[in-house]
Symmetry: C2
Subunit: 235 residues, 2 copies
Amino acid sequence: MCCDLEHSETVEDYLKAIYHLDCRGEPTTTSEIARALDVSAPSVSTMMSRLADAGLAERSDDRQVRLTGHGMRHAREVVRRHRLVETFLAEVGVPWDEVHAEAEVLEHALSANLTDRIDDWLGRPERDPHGDPIPPRDGDYAEEWPAPLRAAPRGARFVVDRVSDRDSAALRYLGEMGIRPGTPLVVEDWDPFGGPLWVTVGGERVALGEQLTHLVRGVVAERNPRTGDHGEVST
Amino acid sequence: MCCDLEHSETVEDYLKAIYHLDCRGEPTTTSEIARALDVSAPSVSTMMSRLADAGLAERSDDRQVRLTGHGMRHAREVVRRHRLVETFLAEVGVPWDEVHAEAEVLEHALSANLTDRIDDWLGRPERDPHGDPIPPRDGDYAEEWPAPLRAAPRGARFVVDRVSDRDSAALRYLGEMGIRPGTPLVVEDWDPFGGPLWVTVGGERVALGEQLTHLVRGVVAERNPRTGDHGEVST
DNA sequence: CACGCCAGTTAGACGACTCTAATATAACCG
DNA sequence: CGGTTATATTAGAGTCGTCTAACTGGCGTG
């Protein structure tokens, strides 16, 4: 009896985890998935055979897990719901550092119908509040992952594109400093020995702890020292 | 390990079912609960002992189940979430005949924090789109169940108070005729042998099938034939 | 080559929730 | 009083998802 596997919350969480690991080029191994979902390796092992039986994923020869077309479609649908909910909640006044946690639960509770309604209500947004792209209803889609701020050279102009939604406290902190998708920064200086990265944001010089420089991603546009011009700006 | 019983979706569904049966004076027996939740009687039996162990419900001597103070508080919280979600969805444009089904799932996915935010965003509404009262954050509360339309005498003025959210199609039908909480009707005539109830709504004379007269509840205010005045009108 | 480490799987168990089938209790009626 | 009927519970099983403990298999290094 029972349960469609397909639509179980647990399965959706696994699909999403595999999708996310895959997206940023991290290995989609048993242990990585286990770490991502905070479950034991055997649990993952068991679930992987079930996903394989259901035609949602298959294991490739290099010990990695790969989503099938079907699994990929489903994973993308979950991500779509997640990011639409985040955008929606932000729109009605929930602070951007709180929307992720709520969406983590709500993503499993939205019907396809309601998801589309929310999408329409929002005017078919392309990005969630953290700058993450919202997969379209259907059609092609691939995520780009711009470089983290820590990779930006001194003196660079840097336009924030995405901010990791993982750490709520960091998000709130960044928000207070006015750092969000679209914000232009100038990378001033790296203090040595794990010291802060100094950047200028909105005319103010602020110090960013090392951890934050991993969470903020964006596009570097080298400043042209002659004209002060800068290259293309994303979005 | 695991599972808090308290916060399981299944438990919340049981608590809500008991609450609803209790509210409208229906017997809260094993078989009624089973019917309400569409599960077998043994499943209910098992769950009732678990609820009793958890201090959420107890069985009284007359074969009825009674929620404890704790269980009642929890049930009311679930109902509050449900009705706030309904109100919220209606507010952002989801048709009133669809909100119930969505809320049935979403009610389990809202954090206390988000629930309160939605409540504030809506301006602390007292009724959901079907006219059902929204339990307050805390404090006293009891549901009134006004009489169904079928009990209204011919010639009566009748103000719709609540419309059952159970039957989506009926709800859509009633909506199309302009019948919703607050709508004043005049009861014209009952055709015999299960024939329709004729009412005037917004100046138009419409026929309501027998089933609909159970779903619409409200307050009868006898028309005073001399003045055309009518009695108090609820909200 | 052998040893040990690390990743992954299998084995066995448990809890939550459900079911069907069988049993017990109570209530009603000839 | 005895029998039927309705209602509730117990018994036994199955699924989903998790765990720990034990086993397997590859790979690097002494």
